[in-house]
C-alpha cells in the first residue's frame, strides 16, 4: 500500500513534488478516486491526491467563464452553475459507476485530464475544446500556467489543451479555467424505433447534416435499450435512435417539425419533453446503461460515423456484445464478455482496418496491466509522445505506466 499525500494548497503540492522529485519516488496522481479503476495501474511509491485543492476561484456568469481548483468535485461546480442557469456544455462523463468506483467523485481536474466528453460534444465541442487555461506543476516541480481566462488566446504554444487527455502523466493541474454556457430554455428528443444499426447511423447523420443544431445523436440497439430507465421506454423491445434539440422556447416547435420532415423515411418518432429528455440524456452521461460488472469489459471506440456499425458487426462475429453509439456514430461504447485480454485482439483488429482507435475502459486490474489500454502508437508518434513526456517529467515519476507500459 502506497503512502497517501494530500496537499491543501498549490504551494504545498509544489513542495511535496519537489521532495519526491529529489528522492526520485514514483507518484500516482489521483483526484477523489473516480478514475482509479480505469486506465493502466500506475507504478508508484506515493499516492498524491488533489482532493484538498478545492474551490471555485472565479465565476463570471456574464462572461461565461469559470476557474476552479483541480480537486473541486464536478457536482459542486455543476450545482453552482445550475443556480445561475448555466452548465458545462460538453457534458463530462463520469466513469465512476461503470467501473465500480464511487459515483459523483469525479474532480474537475479529472474531467480535463481524461477529456471524456458526453453527447453534446457533437455541437459544443469536447472538454479540451472548452478549456481556456491551466495552472499546473510538472515533474520538475515547476509551477507554470498556460492559456488564460479569455475566449480567444493564441499567445504561445497551447500547453493547456495539450495537457488534456494526458491522464496526469505530464503535470498535475492545480487550477483550470473553462468556458461555461447557458442552459437551453427547452429540450426535446425525437426517438425513432426499430432501426438496425447501419440505418440508424445514417439517420443520425442526416440529422447532423441539417442546420438544426442537433445537440445529441445517439443510437441504442435493442439489447441495450432494455436497460434504459426512462419511464417512456419501460419494456421497450426495439432499438432507439435518439436526437436531441435544444434552443429557445419560441423556436423549438419549428425545428422539431423540420427535423421530423428531414427524417420522414425513418418512421414516426416518439417525442420526449424537456423533463423526460433531461432524464434520458443523463443516462448516457452517467453510463448507467453500461453498469459495472465483473463479467464484462467495456471499450470506448472513436471512429468515423460511417464505419461504426461495421466495426461493431465485425466484433460481434467473435463475441457477443452490447453497444451504444454516441456522437452520431463517432463514439462507440462496447461491452464484451470478460476475458484474459478483454477481447483486445479482436476489437483492435476490427478498428484498425476501418480507422479509429479503441480504449479499454473497464477490466480487471491484471487485464489492464497485461493488454494495451490505449491504442498503441505509430513509431514516429511514440517518439514524439516520449519526448513530450520527458520534457514535462524527465525522471518519469508521474503516473508511470498509467497510459503506456514503458513510460
Amino acid at each position: 500500500m502506497s503512502e497517501l499525500w494530500r496537499p491543501a494548497a498549490e504551494w504545498e503540492l509544489q513542495s511535496m513534488i519537489a521532495k519526491l522529485v529529489r528522492e526520485k519516488r514514483g507518484i500516482e496522481v489521483v483526484g477523489h478516486g473516480a478514475l482509479r479503476n480505469t486506465g493502466r495501474v500506475a507504478k508508484s511509491d506515493v499516492v498524491l491526491t488533489t482532493s484538498g485543492l478545492k474551490g471555485i476561484t472565479l465565476y463570471e456568469p456574464t462572461e461565461l467563464v469559470m476557474s476552479a481548483r483541480a480537486g473541486t468535485p464536478l457536482y459542486e461546480i455543476e450545482a453552482v452553475l445550475a443556480a445561475r442557469g448555466q452548465m458545462l456544455a460538453f457534458e463530462p462523463v463520469d466513469l465512476g459507476p461503470a467501473t465500480g468506483a464511487p459515483g459523483g467523485a469525479l474532480s474537475i481536474g479529472g474531467v480535463f485530464a481524461t477529456n471524456f466528453s458526453g453527447s453534446r460534444r457533437i455541437s459544443a465541442g469536447s472538454a479540451r475544446d472548452n478549456l481556456l487555461g491551466v495552472r499546473a506543476i510538472n515533474g520538475r516541480a515547476e509551477l507554470f500556467k498556460s492559456g488564460g481566462r479569455v475566449m480567444k488566446n493564441v499567445t504561445g504554444i497551447d500547453v493547456a489543451r495539450g495537457l488534456t487527455g494526458s491522464w496526469g502523466t505530464l503535470a498535475i493541474m492545480t487550477e483550470v479555467t473553462f468556458k461555461v454556457a447557458p442552459i437551453p430554455q427547452t429540450t426535446q428528443t425525437l426517438a425513432f424505433t426499430g432501426l438496425p444499426d447501419d440505418l440508424a447511423i445514417e439517420a443520425l447523420n442526416v440529422a447532423m447534416n441539417t442546420p438544426l443544431e442537433v445537440s445529441g445523436a445517439v443510437h441504442v440497439p435493442r439489447n441495450c435499450a432494455v436497460r434504459l430507465r426512462t419511464p417512456k421506454f419501460k419494456g421497450i423491445d426495439q432499438s432507439l435512435t435518439l436526437l436531441r434539440l435544444e434552443t429557445f422556447s419560441a423556436a423549438i416547435d419549428e425545428r422539431k417539425a423540420k427535423l421530423k420532415a428531414a427524417l420522414k423515411v425513418y418512421g414516426k418518432p416518439i417525442e420526449l419533453d424537456s423533463e423526460e429528455s433531461f432524464g434520458l440524456w443523463s443516462e448516457f452521461r452517467s453510463l448507467s446503461i453500461m453498469p459495472f460488472s465483473t463479467d464484462t469489459s467495456l471499450w470506448r471506440i472513436s471512429t468515423l460515423p460511417t464505419k461504426a456499425a461495421e466495426i461493431v458487426l465485425a466484433i460481434q462475429k467473435f463475441m457477443p456484445s452490447v453497444a451504444f453509439y454516441d456522437w452520431s456514430g463517432g463514439m462507440i461504447w462496447l461491452e464484451v464478455p470478460a476475458a484474459a485480454d478483454a477481447g483486445a485482439a479482436d476489437v483492435r483488429r476490427a478498428v484498425a482496418v476501418r480507422g479509429g482507435h479503441a480504449t479499454l475502459i473497464r477490466a480487471e486490474p491484471e487485464v489492464r496491466s497485461n493488454v494495451d489500454v490505449f491504442e498503441p502508437l505509430k513509431p514516429e508518434i511514440e517518439r514524439l509522445t516520449r519526448g513530450i513526456k520527458s520534457a514535462f517529467d524527465p525522471s518519469g515519476l508521474f503516473n508511470r505506466g498509467r497510459m503506456y507500459a514503458n513510460f
Partner: protein
C-alpha cells in the same frame, strides 16, 4: 518602427549557397527553386511590412514527399527554414532571414477528399481558407473560421496561427475545427497527428501544433470539420452615443444567454472610413457601432434580433437598423472585412490584437483613447467585441521615424494593458516577431521554458522559423544550433 532586433545572418551558410542549391536541385529538381533576386524579393516580408529580409532561397514544393526531402536536406546541412503559407501574417510570422530558405506550401492547394456524411474534408495545406468553403458551399456546408484575410490566407497559415475570425464566437477558432494534420518534421519524418475522427489517440499533440507558428514542423495536409450552413443569417447595426454604452451592451447580450454568431465593434473613425469604402449604410452620426449577426430560420432570426434590440434599448442607442436584404448584409460584412485595407488607404497603422475579459471592455476602450491622446496619435477601433478580442489600429505616418516610434510605444502600452486586465497579448494574429519580446509580460520564465521544451521535442536543433514567438535573449543557446542544447541550458 525598426526596433525589433533580428539575429545577424550566418555568413558561413550564405557562402555555402551554391552547394546548397546544387544539393536541392539533385533532390527535388530545379523547377521548385526560386533563385533570382526579383523572385526572392516577393517573399521578403508578409503583411507585417515594416520588416523585410530577402531570403537566400525560396522553395515551392508540390508534394509532402518533396517537403520531406527539402527539410531533411536542410537538417543535414544546418540550414534554417521559414515555413510559409500565403504570407498574410500580421505579426511577422513568416518574415525570412537572409540566411534561411523559405519553404512555401502555396502550390499544395488541392482538395483531396470531401466526405459530407462524416462532415469532413481532407485538403492540402496551401489551399486558401475561402477556397475550402467555396468547394463545399453548394452542398450546404462551410469551413467555419473566417479571418478577414480569408480570400488570400492559407489553411497552413491558419493552423500555424490558430486563426479566428468574426464568426468564431459561435463556431470556435482553428483549433476547434481541425481534426488532424500531416506534418513533416525538420529531419524529414512525415507524421500524421490527430486523425479524422473526433477523439484523438494518446497525447493531444495536435493542440501543441495548432498555433505553434511554424515552430514545430511544416504542415502539408489537414482534415477539417465541415459545418452545415445555417438556414439564414442577418446582421443588425446598433449605433451608440459612446463607446462605453456599446461595450456595456455587448456584456448585456452575452449575459442574457444569447450567443450571436458575431458581435463586431467599430468606432467613429473606423465607421467613416469603412462607409466611404463599402457604402454599407453604416450610421455616420454615432460614436460606436455594433454589428450583431444571428443565424437560424426567418422566424428565429426575427425573434433573436428583436431580443437583441430590446437589450440594446437599455443603452440609449441612436440607431437600430436591421439589414433589409441579403445585398445589404453582404455590404455590411464587406465593409467590416475590408476595414483594415480601407484604413490602410488613408494612413499607415499598427494593428493590435490583444484580448480582454468582456467586463473590462468599457474601461479598456477609455484607456486606449487616453493612451493614444497622450501620445498625440489617432486610433481607429475595430474588433470582435463578443469575445473581447480588440483590434485598435494606431494611425501614424511611416515616413516619420519619430511618429512610428510613438505608435510602437502606444501599441506596447495597449498590449500591456490587455495583460493587466486579465487578458492576453494576441487573440488571433499570433506572436511572430512583433510581440516576441512582450511574451515575458504575460508569461514567467518557467511558463516560457515549458513551451520551449515542446519546441525542442519537435525541432531539437531549432532550425524552424527562428527568432520568433520567444524572447530573443532566452533562446540564444538553442538558436546557436547546438544539437545537444536544451532549454535548460539557456
Amino acid at each position: 518602427m525598426p526596433h525589433i532586433e533580428l539575429p545577424e545572418p550566418d555568413a558561413g551558410v550564405i557562402r555555402r549557397l551554391p552547394i546548397l542549391i546544387e544539393g536541392l536541385k539533385a533532390r527535388v529538381g530545379k523547377d521548385l527553386l526560386i533563385l533570382d533576386e526579383e523572385g526572392r524579393r516577393a517573399y521578403e516580408t508578409d503583411a507585417f511590412t515594416s520588416y523585410r529580409r530577402v531570403p537566400m532561397l525560396v522553395v515551392l514544393p508540390r508534394t509532402t514527399d518533396e517537403v520531406s526531402k527539402i527539410l531533411k536536406f536542410c537538417h543535414e546541412n544546418d540550414v534554417k527554414v521559414i515555413p510559409r503559407g500565403a504570407g498574410t501574417s500580421l505579426c511577422g510570422g513568416s518574415l525570412p532571414t537572409e540566411d534561411s530558405i523559405v519553404l512555401c506550401v502555396s502550390k499544395m492547394n488541392r482538395v483531396i477528399e470531401i466526405d459530407y456524411t462524416n462532415r469532413i474534408a481532407r485538403v492540402e495545406a496551401g489551399i486558401t481558407n475561402l477556397q475550402i468553403t467555396a468547394q463545399v458551399s453548394k452542398a450546404g456546408f462551410f469551413y467555419a473560421p473566417d479571418p478577414s484575410s480569408q480570400l488570400a490566407c492559407s489553411l497552413a497559415g491558419n493552423i500555424a496561427m490558430n486563426s479566428g475570425g468574426a464568426h468564431c464566437l459561435k463556431y470556435g477558432v482553428t483549433t476547434h475545427n481541425v481534426l488532424g494534420v500531416k506534418m513533416v518534421l525538420i529531419d524529414g519524418t512525415i507524421t500524421e497527428i490527430g486523425g479524422s475522427s473526433l477523439e484523438r489517440n494518446g497525447y493531444d499533440l495536435l493542440s501543441y501544433v495548432i498555433g505553434s507558428e511554424g515552430q514545430l514542423g511544416v504542415i502539408t495536409e489537414a482534415t477539417v470539420k465541415l459545418v452545415p450552413s445555417p438556414e439564414g443569417a442577418r446582421p443588425m447595426m446598433i449605433g451608440f452615443r459612446s463607446p462605453e454604452a456599446a461595450g456595456s451592451c455587448v456584456s448585456a447580450i452575452i449575459a442574457a444567454g444569447i450567443i450571436p454568431v458575431a458581435i463586431e465593434y467599430m468606432d467613429h473613425a473606423a465607421i467613416e472610413v469603412c462607409e466611404a469604402f463599402a457604402g454599407a449604410g453604416y450610421p455616420l452620426d454615432v460614436e460606436a457601432l455594433l454589428i450583431v449577426e444571428v443565424e437560424g430560420s426567418e422566424s428565429e432570426i426575427g425573434i433573436l434580433l428583436g431580443r437583441v434590440a430590446e437589450i440594446a434599448a437599455r443603452f440609449d442607442p441612436k440607431t437600430v437598423k436591421i439589414s433589409a436584404d441579403p445585398d445589404q448584409s453582404a455590404r455590411i460584412w464587406a465593409g467590416r472585412k475590408a476595414a483594415f485595407g480601407a484604413i490602410g488607404r488613408i494612413s499607415d497603422y499598427l494593428c493590435m490584437d490583444g484580448t480582454i475579459p468582456l467586463a473590462q471592455l468599457p474601461h479598456a476602450l477609455t484607456r486606449i483613447s487616453q493612451l493614444c491622446a497622450e501620445h498625440d496619435l489617432k486610433v481607429a477601433n475595430i474588433f470582435h467585441a463578443g469575445d473581447g478580442n480588440l483590434h485598435p489600429l494606431i494611425l501614424y505616418d511611416a515616413n516619420s521615424p519619430e511618429e512610428a516610434e510613438r505608435a510602437e510605444i502606444v501599441g506596447e502600452a495597449i498590449l500591456r494593458l490587455c495583460v493587466e486586465l486579465g487578458g492576453c497579448l494576441t487573440g488571433e494574429h499570433g506572436v511572430g516577431i512583433e510581440k516576441r519580446e512582450l511574451m515575458s509580460t504575460q508569461f514567467s520564465d518557467t511558463d516560457l521554458m515549458v513551451q520551449m521544451r515542446i519546441k525542442s521535442v519537435f525541432d531539437p536543433t531549432w532550425r524552424l522559423n527562428q527568432a520568433k514567438v520567444f524572447p530573443l535573449a532566452i533562446t540564444h543557446v538553442m538558436r546557436a544550433g547546438n544539437a545537444a542544447s536544451t532549454p535548460e541550458a539557456a
